[in-house]
Amino acid sequence: MMKIYPIIAAIGLLITVVSVLKKSPFFNFLGLLTLIYGLLKSVGLVTAPFPAQVMTMYMAMSVFSLFIYFSIQESTFEALLEPVRAVLADDNKLILRVLIVFIALPLFAGYLTFDKVKPNYEPPVSARIVHPEPVSSIEFRGKPITIIGLENPLRKDAANMAGNLEAGKKIYYQNCFYCHGDDLDGRGHLALGFNPVPPPFRGTDTIAQLPESFVFWRIAKGWRGLPAGSTPWNSAMPSFEDFLTEDEIWKVTLFIYEATGNKPRS
């Protein structure tokens, strides 16, 4: 849909060029306006599009500037208004007059008014902080644990790495895969039922950006540990301290990094 705007700009440019050659200030005016509109809208292709209000402002400024430009010379201004006058008054333009002035313009004005006065009901939208500030410490089943600077103790245990990873895999597929996905891509078979949807672990946007201590905290506390800005009331992430031990959480953390080829941020 966005791709139509450069085409509109091109059409505007074409009208401008032809109208300059044919010496018609009226179409020159229309062509330039179309060109400006198309260009401004095309911005949305490369970066965030302009909000509707800003668009209205820019377009109003363009109309105003063009009017000033075309009214500097009396003759140009006359020529600019000539087609308008012709449609309004000339005997041989009766059909065009009926179509544009008496049908199209009133209908268009009526539609614009309808668009302004029609009631618009939109459900409330709430912003959500995806990566909240981690807490400095938690109580894990009554035991205090300092989160800041916490490291996965199993990373040092090279001898049991394979066994720990396999144990982590089992924990993952008995506790996490329904939501976070068989392929750890966030597309588990129950994922669609929840809002916010469960995040993927694959890719570089989630766990790759986080230290393991953060991941431990999220698994251990789940929805209950989220600050209000992260809408804990919507989250289906269980507090896994209810179901898993500290050791089991470290094992599954080990697994989700290994299985996605990600490294924890240090």
């Binding site: 459900p123 329904y178 009331w233």
Partner: protein, 481 residues
Amino acid sequence: MKKILLTILLTVVLCSAWYLSASAEDSQGKKLYNGWCAQCHGYDGDAKSYTDKFSVPKPRDFTMGTYKFRSTPSGDPPTDADITKIVRNGNPGTSMPPWTRFTDDEVKAIVAHVKTFAPDIFKDAGKPITIGTPPKASAALIAKGKELFNKAKCVECHGKAGRGNGEKGWQENFKNDWGDPITPANYTHPWELRNGSTVEDIYRTISVGLGGTPMTSYMDSLKDEDRWALAVFIKSLQEQRKLGVAIKIKKTVAIPAKVDDPAWDSVEYMDLPMGGQLMFEPRDFTPLITNVRVRGLYSDKEFAIMVEWSDKKPNNGADGKPADTVWIQFPQKVTEEAEKPYFFMGDKKHPVYLWNWKASDAGKVTEQLAKGYDNVADLPKQDVTVIAGYNDGLYRVVYKRALKTGTKDDFEVLPGKFVPFSIVAFDGQNGESGIKGAVSSWYYLMLEPATPLRVYVFPPLVALCVFVGGLSLSRSLRSKK
């Protein structure tokens, strides 16, 4: 002597190199399988795995060599393309996802490894049936398919409306070859059709059947054109989900008094995809209610919300299984702020109202206040009424309440105001009760206010002004000439 030693050494080196390269080749499939398939299908392909108790339907056991989804005639092994299709597309409605991350060569290696679990079965390659071009769907063809649906006795298992609720589908011994209970497919839910939902997929299933299940092949008993007609009819039963965040409820003169009143069918609806309750023990890892449809109407005094869902086997609590149950949840305090109670049964600070309906007492609804999953109490004053019905595989429960009850702390429903709600549903046949059930997240409902007068007045007025302006301008210009 040196020569002999050298020969032996060379032979050993060559042999081990050949052995290593050969095992390296088949180990790619094994490695990928062990990494990404064994968690469900088992390291030995026997489906004794990490997820076997957490998945419904269970993961496939490959050691029997029986494959449900094939393009080959009944009794033949599936083709490599058949197994590849399952790996690539997944089986909708199960925990088998589409595996899109792997290259074609990797999938080929996985398929080769899967076949090694039942090598005898794959000795002779299966030959796929020819699937021609599907006929164009027409009213006449659908009618013909419907007739065949009854004549070929499909209706006995799949039910009149195709929701998988047929009498015969619910016999005691209705099991697959692996000994697990099995249920007939619900055609109205295309998002759950394991073997795909296109008309070709349906035609293929009818033609070759589903291996290891009571769904037999109709290749010989039905002509090709009849199978297409049947497929076109079954395809016509599929419903598309309308997902959204808010349902707008329209005003009516009188709310229908019956659940099957045709007036309900033309009411705008919204579908809620359901997840399982995974936060508190006992958790529901295998909810079978995947979708709940919600719609509503309101009058001057009351509003009604209909909750509708498919259930292949109704349970009213008399058959030893828990009664089918549904709740609708509302925050006790409806505020403009974003903060809400916890989406499942609220919390201490933010209680929710539960409108609790059970099939064991279908004419009744109990209004409850929940302050968390372990803190629920019946309310002293009951203001909600309910009408409910089960027809041909479909439950419909209509809750009705006054817009304003006057009961202390009860929430008021005002036109134009968005009220959060969520649904919890329990399938007794699946052993769901208590807090073990299917859950939805928060959604909104809103009573749509009557169109304000300004919408009828201003647009024509402005149009008229522009018309008159144009006319007078034109006149004055013409008279100047």
